[in-house]
C-alpha cells in the first residue's frame, strides 16, 4: 500500500521540517507551496492523506478542500487541516467542507501530527517504523 501524503504549506521552514520528519517516518511526501500547485498535483495523483494549510497564496485552503471533495476521483481523500487560523468559524467551515480533522499548528507538534496521520493507515508498517528509529 502506498503511503503518500500531500503537504500543502506556504511557510518553507515548516514545509521543510515536517516533510523531512514524515519522510523519516516512512511516508512518501509530496509538497506544494500554494493552492494552485496543490490542485495540479491532486489531478495527477490520488493521495492517502492531505495536510492542508488555509492561508495560501493563489487559492486558499478552503477552496482547495472544496474542489477535492467535488472531484469524484479524490473525494475519498482524508484531508487534515493544519492551520494557525483558529476561530470557531474556521473550525466549523473546515468540518462542513469535509475535513476529517483540524489541527492548530502552534498547538501541535510533528509527533502529534504523525499520530493523527497514522490513524488512517490500518496496517502497521513495521519496516517503516524500524526505518524511523
Amino acid at each position: 500500500m502506498t503511503r503518500n501524503i500531500l503537504f500543502v504549506e506556504d511557510d518553507i521552514v515548516l514545509l521543510g521540517i515536517l516533510e523531512r520528519f514524515l519522510r523519516e517516518a516512512g511516508f512518501d511526501v509530496t509538497i506544494a507551496k500554494d493552492g494552485e500547485a496543490a490542485l495540479q498535483l491532486l489531478e495527477k495523483t490520488v493521495f492517502d492523506v492531505v495536510l492542508l494549510d488555509i492561508l495560501l497564496p493563489t487559492i486558499d485552503g478552503f477552496e482547495v478542500l472544496k474542489r477535492i471533495k467535488a472531484d469524484p476521483k479524490a473525494a475519498a481523500t482524508n484531508v487534515i487541516i493544519l492551520s494557525n487560523l483558529a476561530s470557531p468559524e474556521d473550525f466549523k467551515r473546515g468540518k462542513e467542507l469535509g475535513a476529517v480533522d483540524y489541527l492548530v499548528k502552534a498547538a501541535t507538534t510533528p509527533e502529534e501530527i504523525l499520530a493523527k496521520i497514522k490513524q488512517f493507515f490500518k496496517e502497521p508498517d513495521i519496516v517503516a517504523e524500524h526505518q524511523r528509529r
Partner: protein
C-alpha cells in the same frame, strides 16, 4: 412637597438600597472574611445614618425628630468599621491590631458618653433651609467630628504607606479606595455644615451611598480594571444616561408645548417621531460598533496568525531536535526552549482571548472519550519529573467509568496543569495522590499533594488570572499565574467545576475538578 426635599429624599432612598444591597452582596463573595464582615457592618452603619437623616428631616415634631436624629451616633461606627475593613483589605489588620483596639475603645467610649449625655450630642432640632427639622449641634458634637478626622486620617495614612511598597495590582486597588473614600466622605461631610448652622445645602450628601459601588468592586475582584479606564467608562455611561434622560424630558416638554399651542395637535405625534428617530440613530450606532468589531476581529485574526507562525517554527524544530540530541544536557536545553515556547503560545492565546468579546481563540472540539487512559497518559508524561524529585505518585483510578464529552487537547492540558503544579510545589520525597471517581452524573478528578500548601487568605484567589502565592513565586520565579486560570476556564467550558482545599501553608493541597458524563 418642596422639590429639593423630594429630590434629596429619593436620592437617599436609592442610596440606602444600594448601600445595603452591596453590603450584603460583598458578604457572600469569597473575599477575605474580616474584610467582608466589617465592610457589611460599615454599610449597615451608613444605611442607619442615611435612614435617620431622611426620616428626621421629614418629621415635624421636634421631640420625635430628635429621637430619630440620635441614631446619628452610628456615624462613629462608620469610621471604625471603615478603618477595620481597609486595614484588612490591605493586609494590615493583624499588624495594626493595637491601633484598631484603640480606635474601637475610643469610639465606644465616645458613643457611650453621648448616649448618656444626649444634650451634649444634639440639642432640640429646628427647621433649617427646606427641612422640617434638622440637627442642632450640642456642645460636644464637635468631638465626634474630631474623631472622624483622626480615624479617617489614620487609615488614609495607612493606605498611602502601603501604596509606597505595593505591587501594581495592590496600588491600583488602593487608588480605587482612596479616590472613592475621598468622594464619599467629601460628599457625606456636606450634611454636617448645616448642623452648625452654616447654610450649605446638604443635598449632595445623597450621593454618599453610591460610593459603595466602586468600593465593593475593589474588595471583591482581585484583578481590577485600571482606575483610569474605570473612571473613563463611568464618565461615559453617566453622560449617556444624562443624555437619554434629557432627551426623554425634552420630548415630553416639546409635546406638551405643541399640544397646548396648536389646537387639534395629536398628542402621539411627537413621541412617534422621537421614537422613530431613536430607533434609526440606535441602529446606526449598532452598525458602526459591529463594523468596529469586525475590523478588530480581522486585526486579531491577522495578529494571531503572525504571532503563531514563528511560534510554530520554534515548537516544531524543538520537537524534532529533542529526538536527535544525544546528551542529557542538550535534551534539557531543548526542553527549556519547548517550555518557553509553550508559555509564549499560552500568553498569546490569553492576550487574544481577552481582546475578543466572545468566543474562544481556539474553540473546543468535543468527542466522547474515556477519561482514565487519558489521565494515565498524562501521568506518564510527568512521571520522569516526579522520579527526579523522588516523589511518589499514587493512583486511584477506577476502571469501567463512563465516557465524557471532551476536547482531548484541552482536557489534557488542564490535567497537565494540575499535575505539573503538584510535582513542582511538592518538595523532594513527597507524595502525590491522583484519583478519578464517579460521583452521580460526573467524574471527579482530584490530585492531592504533600507540598507547600495554600494559606486561608490566598485560597479564594487561586484560580484568578495572574495570581501566584508568595511561596509559589519563590519556587518558580517565571510562573505566569495563568495555568490554573486557563485550566478553570477549560473545565467550566466543559460544564464542570473546579475546587481547591488546603489546611494551610506547608500542609499540602488538594485540587479537584469535575466533568459531566457524556449523555
Amino acid at each position: 412637597m418642596n422639590v429639593q426635599l423630594l429630590t434629596i429624599s429619593i436620592g437617599y432612598g436609592i442610596s440606602i438600597l444600594i448601600t445595603l444591597g452591596l453590603g450584603i452582596f460583598v458578604l457572600f463573595t469569597n473575599a477575605n472574611r474580616t474584610t467582608r464582615v466589617t465592610f457589611f457592618l460599615m454599610a449597615v452603619a451608613v444605611a442607619v445614618f442615611e435612614i435617620s437623616l431622611i426620616f428626621g428631616v421629614h418629621t415635624a415634631d421636634p421631640i420625635l425628630a430628635r429621637k430619630i436624629f440620635m441614631f446619628n451616633l452610628t456615624d462613629i461606627f462608620i469610621v471604625i468599621f471603615n478603618a477595620h475593613w481597609i486595614l484588612s483589605a490591605i493586609g494590615k489588620a493583624q499588624e495594626r491590631k493595637r491601633d484598631l483596639g484603640l480606635i474601637y475603645g475610643a469610639g465606644i467610649l465616645l458613643f457611650l458618653f453621648f448616649l448618656f449625655n444626649p444634650e451634649a450630642f444634639i440639642r432640640m432640632p429646628r427647621p433649617k433651609l427646606y427641612f422640617k427639622n434638622y440637627f442642632v449641634a450640642g456642645d460636644y458634637y464637635i468631638l465626634m467630628v474630631g474623631f472622624f478626622f483622626v480615624v479617617v486620617s489614620y487609615f488614609y495614612y495607612q493606605l498611602i504607606r502601603v501604596y509606597r511598597s505595593a505591587d501594581d495590582a495592590m496600588r491600583n486597588r488602593i487608588k480605587y479606595f482612596l479616590a472613592t473614600l475621598t468622594v464619599g466622605y467629601g460628599l457625606g461631610s456636606t450634611a454636617f455644615f448645616l448642623v452648625f448652622d452654616i447654610p450649605f445645602d446638604p443635598i449632595l450628601s445623597m450621593f454618599t451611598g453610591f460610593y459603595t459601588i466602586p468600593l465593593s468592586y475593589g474588595i471583591v475582584k482581585y484583578q481590577l480594571m485600571d482606575i483610569r479606564v474605570a473612571i473613563r467608562k463611568a464618565a461615559l455611561y453617566s453622560i449617556l444616561v444624562a443624555m437619554v434622560t434629557a432627551g426623554i424630558v425634552g420630548v415630553s416638554f416639546l409635546n406638551t408645548f405643541f399640544v397646548r399651542a396648536i389646537p387639534g395637535f395629536q398628542i402621539w405625534f411627537v413621541p412617534l417621531i422621537a421614537g422613530t428617530a431613536a430607533v434609526i440613530v440606535g441602529n446606526l450606532f449598532w452598525r458602526k460598533s459591529k463594523e468596529a468589531d469586525r475590523l478588530k476581529y480581522e486585526f486579531i485574526t491577522i495578529a494571531a496568525h503572525k504571532l503563531r507562525t514563528p511560534l510554530t517554527r520554534i515548537k516544531w524544530i524543538a520537537d524534532i531536535l529533542l529526538e536527535k540530541v544525544q546528551t542529557e544536557d542538550e535534551k534539557r536545553l531543548i526542553e527549556d526552549i519547548h517550555k518557553a515556547d509553550n508559555r509564549l503560545v499560552e500568553l498569546a492565546d490569553v492576550l487574544l482571548e481577552t481582546t475578543k468579546q466572545e468566543g474562544d481563540v481556539f474553540p473546543h472540539m468535543r468527542e466522547a472519550i474515556d477519561f482514565a487512559p487519558l489521565v494515565r497518559a498524562v501521568l506518564g508524561e510527568v512521571g520522569q519529573e516526579a522520579e527526579k524529585k523522588h516523589i511518589r505518585i499514587e493512583t486511584d483510578v477506577q476502571s469501567g467509568l463512563p465516557l465524557i464529552q471532551a476536547d482531548v487537547q484541552r482536557i489534557r492540558s488542564a490535567l497537565r496543569v494540575f499535575l505539573d503544579n503538584a510535582i513542582l510545589y511538592t518538595p523532594a520525597g513527597g507524595t502525590v495522590n491522583v484519583s478519578l471517581v464517579r460521583h452521580n452524573a460526573a467524574l471527579i478528578f482530584s490530585v492531592t499533594d504533600t507540598g507547600i500548601g495554600i494559606s486561608k487568605e490566598d485560597l479564594p484567589y487561586i484560580f484568578e488570572k495572574f495570581f501566584r502565592t508568595h511561596r509559589a513565586a519563590l519556587i518558580d520565579t517565571e510562573g505566569s499565574g495563568l495555568g490554573l486560570f486557563i485550566a478553570r476556564s477549560i473545565v467550566e467550558k466543559h460544564g464542570g467545576a473546579v475546587g481547591v482545599e488546603s489546611m494551610g501553608e506547608g500542609k499540602g493541597t488538594r485540587f479537584w475538578f469535575s466533568l459531566p458524563i457524556a449523555p
